[in-house]
């Protein structure tokens, strides 16, 4: 009986099932890229990087109860940090390691005043941060201005230069696995419990000794670090960055993916990113067919986020992963006893 009690348990679905999911994703991340045709490999890289950012957004929204509509800003900061460092001769691996650090530092500096805001106010403030960053980047000649930062060298790890998409697919998989692992570890820890507690009652959490402000800032920085790391890989992968690569729509995309996958779950953001990206790809293929009007791709890509979000809120209010979990539990009712 004692052994049963001591088993780590959590209402957040982060126990044994999550470990299986993690193993499954890792195998998929390793086995899938070589099987994909070249043109889909690029989509896979973008998926893994987007999912990495979404893991951070989900951590922020699902567990800490904060909304960021400007997460692409930290994606951009990580990408530009890695890109600028590499252009100025810093070893690319060092640049990749510094990208999340710089994004996290930026988040701490911005978050200190911003996180005094809550709910919609915080969401709009983060959106404003991204808009300001984009216009600053467009003005900054040292960062390539509106034309963009060009000639970023490729990522070199221990003397081996990643030239092919396959290499970046693995790098992106690795980064995603790292983000998922860290998110999971944090959620079940003392810090994660404190965050989840503060999301439902700040007063009671503070009375238990949780420094609410510092924890809100820490999780904001952690989510920014995840975005920054993904941004670093993105910079080396494309070799070219411009403010146009980080539109506000991208920030909204991260939020939609997190909500569709299921807030408050570890695997939700990965599932959400996969579903949205595949859907956008399919619609994009459809929209660029001969005979479709020229505005079709733009309209369909904007519309898909709106439609997916509305459908999700109406029919899967908790998101994909919790819905699937409930469905599997319904077919196997004895699982809880085993």
């Amino acid at each position: 009986m004692t052994a049963g009690l001591l088993r780590p348990a959590s209402a957040a679905g982060t126990g044994r099932a999550a470990r299986w999911w993690l193993a499954g994703f890792t195998i998929l991340g390793l086995a899938l890229p070589p099987l994909l045709p070249e043109r889909h490999l690029a989509t896979f890289v973008l998926f893994a990087l987007t999912a990495t950012v979404t893991v951070g957004v989900s951590l922020l929204m699902g567990y800490a109860g904060q909304v960021s509509l400007g997460q692409a800003a930290f994606y951009a900061i990580g990408a530009y940090a890695a890109g600028l460092l590499a252009v100025h001769g810093v070893p690319s691996l060092l640049g990749l390691l510094l990208a999340p650090v710089i994004a996290a530092v930026a988040a701490v500096l911005l978050g200190a005043p911003l996180l005094r805001l809550r709910g919609h106010h915080l969401a709009f403030a983060t959106l404003a941060v991204q808009l300001i960053l984009l216009s600053l980047l467009a003005q900054a000649d040292w960062a390539g201005g509106a034309i963009g930062l060009q000639g970023i060298p490729r990522l070199t790890i221990l003397g081996y230069e990643l030239r092919e998409d396959l290499g970046y697919a693995y790098a992106a998989s690795l980064v995603l696995a790292l983000a998922v692992l860290i998110a999971r570890n944090v959620i079940v820890s003392r810090a994660g419990r404190a965050l989840r507690a503060a999301a439902t009652s700040e007063t009671a959490a503070a009375a238990s000794g949780v420094p609410i402000g510092r924890y809100r800032l820490a999780v904001f920085a952690l989510s920014a670090a995840m975005a920054g790391l993904a941004g670093g890989v993105y910079a080396y992968y494309l070799g070219y960055l411009s403010p146009g690569s980080f539109p506000v729509l991208l920030s909204i995309e991260f939020v939609v993916m997190a909500v569709v996958g299921g807030l408050g779950t570890i695997t939700g953001p990965v599932a959400g990113a996969a579903v949205v990206i595949v859907l956008v790809q399919v619609l994009n293929t459809l929209a660029t067919r001969p005979g479709m009007p020229g505005y079709a791709p733009a309209v369909l890509s904007y519309a898909v986020y709106a439609v997916v979000l509305i459908l999700c809120v109406l029919y899967l209010p908790k998101g994909l992963v919790p819905a699937l979990r409930r469905a599997t539990r319904a077919t196997a009712p004895d699982r809880r006893q085993s």
């Binding site: 009690l5 348990a9 419990r193």
Partner: protein, 262 residues
């Protein structure tokens, strides 16, 4: 005589109206002090001023000789102030066990980095927190609920959960705000037994309570508030005989009736 808690001339106003005015009291280590008073006497405000949920406008709050009235609630928790709120302020989405584990926050250290990297020290601390939390759940009589989401617990068990959470920090001063209200008779008896046992172990307890009968048999000393001021302070027997207390509890409808002045 050493003093665990000293409240010196504390005041707090809301929109120009004093909820607590110039209140002073001292609590000795190991004492079970009750604070009673009619509705609107300022009991809960005083509780929040000691716990750090509200800031004082005047006066001092001293814990074991250290001034704490300017410290935020989480710093006071680290100094050993445990709080059980009125109603059930539990953490939804966390299991009962996790709720109690959050209670250990004030006395533990592991942060984001050691959690993310899964350092060995982190594992050791997690295990210690879990064991301590299970012990506290057991003490509060709700060990069977450990792995249930906290919001699924009945109200009485949610109250017990709050108490277990506060105990998990091993406080030096335990603040209880109307812990008995809304409980059924059996639950009330269990709570009284638990409070008595904690007092016997030497825990200093400040019990804010509306129910006079409940505190009369538990408290060492009773402080009576009315309209934000201390009107009496003494042993339960002294308080029972005090004419001002009797007037405050029995007289308001008579003495301060809006029609009484004509």
């Amino acid at each position: 005589m050493t003093v665990r808690l000293a409240v010196g001339g504390v005041s707090r106003a809301f929109g120009g109206v004093y909820a607590v005015r110039d209140v002073s009291l001292t609590v000795a280590p190991g004492e079970l002090r009750a604070i009673i008073g009619p509705n609107g006497a300022g009991k809960s405000t005083l509780f929040a001023l000691i716990g750090g949920q509200l800031a004082t406008h005047h006066g001092s709050v001293t814990l074991d000789g250290a001034r704490v009235e300017r410290l935020p609630a989480h710093r006071r928790a680290r100094l050993g102030v445990g709080v059980v709120f009125q109603g059930a302020r539990i953490f939804h989405g966390l299991t009962a066990l996790e709720n109690v584990m959050v209670g250990a926050h004030a006395t533990t250290r592991a942060g984001f980095l050691s959690a993310a990297l899964r350092l060995p020290a982190h594992h050791r601390e997690e295990r210690a927190i879990r064991e301590r939390a299970l012990t506290c759940l057991d003490r509060a009589g709700i060990a069977d609920w450990a792995h249930r989401p906290a919001e699924e617990l009945p109200l009485g068990q949610q109250r017990a959960l709050q108490l277990a959470r506060a105990l998990c920090a091993r406080p030096r001063l335990l603040l209880l705000d109307e812990p008995a209200s809304g409980l059924r008779a059996a639950e009330r008896e269990h709570l009284a037994g638990l409070i008595t046992a904690l007092r016997a172990e030497g825990l200093t307890i400040l019990l804010v309570e509306h129910d006079v009968a409940f505190v009369m048999r538990l408290a060492d000393r009773i402080t009576v508030l009315d309209l934000g001021r201390v009107i009496a302070d003494g042993s339960p027997a002294e308080i029972r005989e005090n004419p001002r207390v009797i007037e405050a509890y029995l007289g308001p409808s008579f003495v301060r009736s809006p029609h009484g002045a004509s």
